[in-house]
Symmetry: C2
Subunit: 388 residues, 2 copies
């Protein structure tokens, strides 16, 4: 049994192939199959109102708390393709259902890549043929994680070993990432025996403090989907809390991997806000800082320009005392009572990790951390010639 | 009489000097004096809750609708300097008041530059000496406009000739610019005879549709100030509407100049949104697109990646029909009914101006335009090593 990724838990097999959807000729389709005996499933989807066709299909199919397989493709988002996009997403699912002898309603589907191009259905159909061919499905979690990459430079997997049961996961996502219910494609699998309600609860709790607080560029995708699939193959029934812990650990690990591989990243920056009334206010303020391009450019330049933190946070929807804000870079005070602290301009930010802490000076127990990155030449380069 | 800028209207003189506040050794202080016979004044200030010391002083002094002079410095924002910052702003005003034999309450003060460094008061005091020396004040509007520049590459002036009276203006601002009551330093002067109430009305109406809809990087400054000063020297009393027209024309011209000189700009991009319920919703949607880094990078790459427009606008707080959004680049349809239009990927965006129009498909009379720019390597370069 593989010890990483989605095929680590019992009851799950996967396959991957190169269907020719990506112009690069790299692997671009993957399939995850839950072999049971249980088929519990839950999902969270993008909050964007412009949603991709596969999201519509997946949302319908997971509503009953059960899925037996999920089909993935990279290189084409199948978003903004009108009714033809919906038809193509359903046809992919129907083709796979026939091959696997499943009902179409028991299949989820995820796409990622360029928005606004029709899926090349001949390639997708041939890809499904390969993914389901004799001997294709097996302990191929790593190959599946590799096939769902877009501008990712490394595949992203994790596994959590619990008390007699296991939770595995894969994910992709390095750009168009901002707090939403989910902000990327992620698939979590477990061989524990859980109910759909337990799965939904664990997923909602974990994503709120992991993927929801990861903000690379303030842009929210049309395709974001996080699935949690449970086979029950171990027969072990964890408590809600045990499940929550495992799902959180996996989501947190994947979120870290996404931050580390973010488009053009040279700095991993965490922004923690305290000293305001509620957690919601703290997250508003942390997001406002994390999305500020001037702040992000300063991080790229290893420039301890704390004034930009104050200028950014002054626009945030959060209780604050504008005369008593404190800012710390890597635990060194650079601003106290909204004024520069001694040595503030000499703080060394040349390392790859920067921890920013901001106390808004309004008292209160509100606290939140957002993970973000710097804004580099590479981010601009990667994103200035994507579709053409 | 000079025919450009703040000294074009009768009753205004200006001076400029190099006080040594900018490390570059370029001009960095300016003075505008209203010689009357009237001293009407109005102002709009930053909405940021973290505000610079000069903003606090100016806000107090303009409250009575009268100012006789405004002192400017560039190279230091005098923001986030605590009570010492307030003391320094007041001391500058007091020094100038003595030199000009004015009451301190009749003087406005504006600073722009690095946040969080104390003003070098010896240099400021010497600068005021030079600005007020025998023969210094005169038709020096252009020199004043030059002295308030920071990362601006050109000075920004305009003049509006009305029926027997004139309105002149200067401005600076190329980064840390986002919709707020005002988003930069601007000084408008006129020789018309107007009341403070008329001045306030004209300024509020004009800034709402000019500076408020200019968004370079989503960052709102701590120092933004727009002054309108009227000398009444012509004795002509325009109607409110005539004044509104002139103030709007000057603000619109300066906003265009700021957009054209924005940090790292290679494209001037206008984003117009229609097909939603209210103007406020339209501006929310236009701002959301204008602030989206993926969209801005696509503009830099002349990439007609309309999918990013849909992904961005799907997160906006505006009524829309997600299945019936239309996008036009330079009047060519690239997306109709939320799906790619024929030839969409072949649209030529290589020119310096890109007009983006988005119809949200929800009907309604809401409409708004936001002016923005692309996100380029130069923007990152300019902003990644600013304070150090």
């Amino acid at each position: 049994m593989a010890q990483t990724g989605i095929t680590a838990p019992q009851g799950f097999v996967a396959s991957a192939t190169t269907a020719g959807i990506k112009p690069s000729g790299k692997p671009d389709m993957a399939l995850v199959v839950n072999q049971g005996p249980e088929y519990t499933a839950a999902a969270v989807f993008t909050r964007n109102r412009v949603i991709a066709s596969p999201v519509k299909v997946s949302r319908e199919n997971v509503a009953d708390g059960q899925l037996k397989a999920v089909l993935y493709n990279a290189g084409n988002a199948n978003a903004c393709n009108g009714t033809q996009g919906d038809v193509d997403a359903r046809e992919s699912v129907n083709t796979l259902a026939t091959k696997l002898n499943l009902a179409p309603e028991d299949i989820g589907v995820c796409s990622t890549g360029l928005i606004g191009e029709l899926l090349p259905m001949d390639k997708v159909t041939a890809g499904i043929e390969t993914l389901t061919a004799e001997g294709a499905l097996g302990d191929n979690g790593k190959a599946a994680a590799h096939a769902i990459m877009t501008t990712d430079t490394v595949d992203k997997e994790t596994v959590v070993f619990a008390d007699g049961w296991t939770l595995g996961a894969m994910g992709k996502g390095v750009g168009m990432m901002a707090p939403s219910l989910a902000t990327m494609l992620v698939c979590l699998t477990t061989d524990a025996s859980i109910t759909p309600a337990m799965a939904r609860t664990a997923l909602a709790k974990a994503t709120a403090v992991t993927f929801d607080t990861l903000d690379i560029d303030g842009s929210t995708s049309t395709n974001d989907t996080v699935f949690l699939l449970a086979s029950g193959a171990t027969g072990i029934k964890p408590t809600q809390e045990e499940l929550n812990d495992a799902v959180f650990a996996a989501c947190s690990d994947l979120a870290d991997q996404m931050q580390a591989d973010a488009e053009g990243v040279t700095k991993r920056v965490s922004v923690t806000v305290t000293g305001t009334t509620t957690d919601e206010m703290a997250i508003n303020a942390a997001r406002t800082i994390a999305r500020d391009n001037l702040f992000k450019c300063a991080m790229f330049g290893s420039d301890p320009n704390w004034g930009r933190v104050l200028a950014a946070v002054g626009m945030a929807d959060a209780d604050m005392d504008p005369d008593h804000i404190a800012v710390y870079f890597n635990d060194q005070a650079v601003c106290l009572d909204s004024t520069g602290a001694p040595g503030a301009r000499e703080v060394d930010l040349s390392g790859a990790d920067v921890a920013v802490r901001v106390d808004l000076g309004a008292g209160g127990e509100g606290q939140a951390t957002v993970r973000t990155t710097d804004l580099s030449y590479s981010y601009v380069e990667i994103n200035s010639a994507y579709s053409t």
